[in-house]
Symmetry: C2
Subunit: 208 residues, 2 copies
DNA sequence: ACGCACTTTGACCAAATGGTCAAGACTACG
DNA sequence: CGTAGTCTTGACCATTTGGTCAAAGTGCGT
């Protein structure tokens, strides 16, 4: 078996092919619901060939989650203590909304994993993710202590941003069933809505 | 096999036992990830006995979804055109939050189903659910046309309420990983946060 | 053209899965 | 009691699943 990091051109290409196919399958059926045969079919490789590049089914899943976690956290990383508080937070929400539109499979992959108790990434959640969130909630708390944004619980602000944005990817089937659409026009409405929602909440002064 | 509606005392009891066990298993692993053996183990009945009461695995799943859909829609049904608009909407959100706290398994059952494309309840979504949502968005539109709440897109308001409340059940593993808690105290913070979030947005007058 | 490492796969395996069936156990009721 | 209907299950089955392996094919530097 080839080492952790792909060396040859063929290895690079096939690693990529497999992860792409696995993303399709895992994001739609969850870990236990996905099968190696499906991933093999989807990728155009034979099943033993998958297992030549990855030692097991869970290894593929973990590799996917590893690779995606970084991109997933990027929008929050960008939240800048030096910027204008309200713009920073609203921009963060809108960046997350963009990600839900552009990377729905990635969003669903995480959703599946978390709904089922995060058996495969609890370490990353309590590590990387928690660290980042702790840091950014401190920034937001700093802003609200200084009276630059309304006084709200920063953790719940972040949770609500995750919820409202990822919802458009994760619950896509429900949304399309209700508003009966094929395209992505509703993302523009969502943008207007979320912009107002968070701008409104953050700009209002705290009640005594 | 017994008819659709349980007749005898034993049938009633076992139907109940099976659905309770199935809720545990399906909500944790999704449809394809759940197995009859797990449900059998969880319910204390033998596998052939499950299939004496339900004709198949999907029949159990459908029965669960059928039974839960009604309860799931109840909070929205209560939204009353005659009431005070802001109180009605905020109360709706808080009722949904209560449901996420009290019925997390039900929430996750739906989440699993929807994330995976709603293969088993797309009819209910485009039927019952869409009808109800269409009706209530009209009510909200009436309120905003009359200047009684801010002018927002009612569909997205409802989506955001679903997202922010169900998030506390569906993404429980993530939330607990970040705020490091065992209890349910964070639901009280969530209540304060969501109350403010929606009250603020709805009460502000529409910008020109 | 040669040799060697890298890549691919058909055939296979043990375990798990959804589901069946016939026979036995239990219950209600005359 | 007795017996007819209800309930329960051990044994079984075909299929699917994650994974193995030896052998065959391919690419590439010399």
């Amino acid at each position: 078996m080839p080492g952790k990091t792909p060396r040859t051109r063929i290895q690079k290409k096939n690693h990529e092919t497999i992860l792409e196919a696995a993303l399709n399958v895992f994001s739609q059926y969850g870990f236990r619901g996905a099968t190696l045969d499906q991933i093999a079919l989807e990728s155009g490789l034979s099943k033993p060939n998958l297992l030549y590049y990855f030692p097991s089914k869970v290894a593929i899943h973990r590799a996917l989650l590893d690779r995606l976690m970084a991109n997933w956290l990027a929008p929050l990383r960008k939240l800048d203590e030096q910027g204008d508080p309200i713009e920073e937070i609203v921009d963060y929400a809108l960046r997350k909304l963009d990600m839900a539109r552009e990377f729905p499979r990635e969003s669903r992959l995480f959703a599946n994993e978390i709904v089922q108790g995060a058996p495969n990434i609890s370490d990353k959640i309590e590590g990387e993710l928690k660290t980042l969130v702790d840091e950014k909630t401190q920034v937001i708390k700093g802003w609200s202590d200084a009276g630059r944004v309304a006084e709200i619980e920063p953790y719940h602000l972040i949770f609500s941003i995750w919820a409202t944005t990822q919802h458009y990817a994760d619950f896509d089937a429900q949304i399309r069933g209700i508003i009966q659409t094929d395209g992505e026009a509703h993302f523009d409405d969502a943008k207007v809505f979320l912009d107002r929602l968070y701008r409104q909440m953050l700009s209002t002064s705290t009640p005594q």
